[in-house]
């Protein structure tokens, strides 16, 4: 494997790790709300959360590109806040991936919280635990499987993203050149040998992750709903 390929691999893993960590953190309150709320807004929020599942990545990428543009409201806000633009930057990739992989984190968590029900949390409250205490000491440990599923799916899905990255990230080595982009480039330059190596790596990686997940989950469903 060449040095540029290693760099792309490392960047991809870094992106996937950051996105997974952030989505588990911020996806938790959203998933809890979706699992417990009886609000009329819930179906709307559920549909929005599931949208990245069905939307072509290029469509999502296109809108994100428009939003990230320094002339657009959000892009300008970000530029004034941080002094950097979001388009064609690693930070932009992280933000885009957070949206792109959102359902893969939220849906397994929501499924886990729904299956658990409100009873353990209420029981903890009746034993004197504050809501945060009850979540950390009861709901979280009893939902570990959901977290594992969410983490694996989010991580794997982020690693495989291509369309969104191409739209908002481009192909800047060390900054936005992810492994899927690297493969695409190899094929375009007819370097099939290198493309083979990287592709086989991704294939094996994806299969290993899914196999591990299905073994751990036993007969239970992964919990994804489009």
């Amino acid at each position: 494997m060449t040095l540029p390929d290693l760099s792309a691999l490392w960047l991809t893993l870094k992106l996937a790790a950051i996105v997974t960590a952030l989505l588990l953190l911020f996806g938790t309150p959203l998933a809890l709300w979706l699992a417990r709320s009886r609000s009329r807004l819930r179906p709307v929020a559920e549909a929005l959360t599931a949208l990245p599942l069905v939307l072509p990545p290029t469509v999502l990428g296109f809108y994100l590109l428009l939003a990230f543009n320094p002339n657009a409201a959000f892009g300008r806000f970000w530029l004034e806040l941080t002094g950097h633009t979001l388009t064609f930057s690693f930070t932009g990739l992280v933000l885009a991936s957070l949206i792109y992989s959102l359902p893969f984190a939220v849906q397994p968590l929501q499924t886990a919280f729904s299956a658990l029900g409100a009873a353990p949390g209420e029981t903890a409250a009746s034993l004197g635990a504050s809501p945060l205490d009850a979540f950390l000491t009861v709901t979280l440990p009893l939902s570990l499987r959901g977290y594992l599923t969410a983490a694996v799916l989010t991580f794997a899905h982020t690693i495989g993203e291509f369309g969104v990255v191409l739209m908002v990230g481009g192909n800047i080595p060390g900054e936005t050149r992810l492994i899927s982009i690297a493969i695409y480039e190899r094929v375009e330059t007819l370097d099939y040998a290198a493309a083979h190596g990287l592709s086989a790596l991704l294939l094996l990686f994806s299969f290993a992750i899914l196999l591990g997940l299905y073994i751990l989950n036993g007969r239970t469903r992964i919990g994804l709903r489009a």
């Binding site: 409250a125 009746s126 034993l127 004197g128 809501p131």
Partner: protein
Amino acid sequence: MTCLDLSICLQHADFTMTVREVLPVSGVTAIFGPSGAGKTTLLRAIAGFDRAEGRIAFAGEVWQDAARFVPPHRRRIASVFQQPRLFTHLDVSGNLAYAARRSGQTDAVTAMAARFGVTPLMDRRIHGLSGGEAQRVALARALLTNPRLILMDEPLSALDHVGRTEILPYIESLRDEAKVPVIYVSHSLSEVTRLATNVLALASGRVLRFGLAGDVLSDPAAAAAFGAEETGCLISATVRGMTGDGLCELVFSGGTILTPERMGDSGDRVRLFVRARDVMLARHRPEGLSALNILPTRVISVATAGSASAEVRLDCSGTALSARITQRSAMALGLAPGVDCFAILKTVTLARD
């Protein structure tokens, strides 16, 4: 006396519950009524799990009104549910410690475990426990929160007969120590008869009657809470012993009662329930009758109950009895307040499962 001041209204899709009542809570207060009466709904509002409209105050402290809402974990209410709801990611001692740490009672765990007989279970996982064992752990865990009030939502209904007889004495001992008041939701007449100090009779989201157990259970106005045929009277009696021919002899203020089943050991205090429809009346002491229990009584009142029935309230040397007979019989016997007659008890239910 500690009071629970309820003035709440709760609406679901097709159900409205309105409760305005100041309940003096001491011993066991049973919330009693058929399923769908709103018993659990009321309990959840008291616990703070659901937010009702209105005001709830306990011992002078407002838990909920227009301006404030004390969250469940600050009310110091312990809840014991139908299912034990033990935390499966902890073992038995972990479950007890969970409550004890949050109430600063870690020193009390050992004694509490011993009191509920769960000391040998401390290292066990939750999945391996029997229903009765799990509910005993749940009771010990609830008490370790050092509660001011304990709510129990049909804690026996998920147990088999063995489990129930295992748990009941612990709830009775809670009542008799009278340190922490218990609110006990049930639709089982025998549980209420055995445990309740006070009864709140509830039907279709309305309070039919609140008062001492004996008064409410004999009140025809509260009959809807336990089915029209189920009114009756509570008798407190003491077991004298077994007769030579296998009957259990019980003594109460109005005389003795014989039952074909063993009710307890000599000297045990028991509560009996006599359904009004299981009491026949006669103006003269009947002879040649197979019934064992014939008690002299005096009529207090005769009231119509339903189209053809009459509810006759009787005084049996200080113990109240009631009989449900037809209006025709009441006329034929000439029953009126002050008339002496004999009550024939067809069956007697021991107030236990």
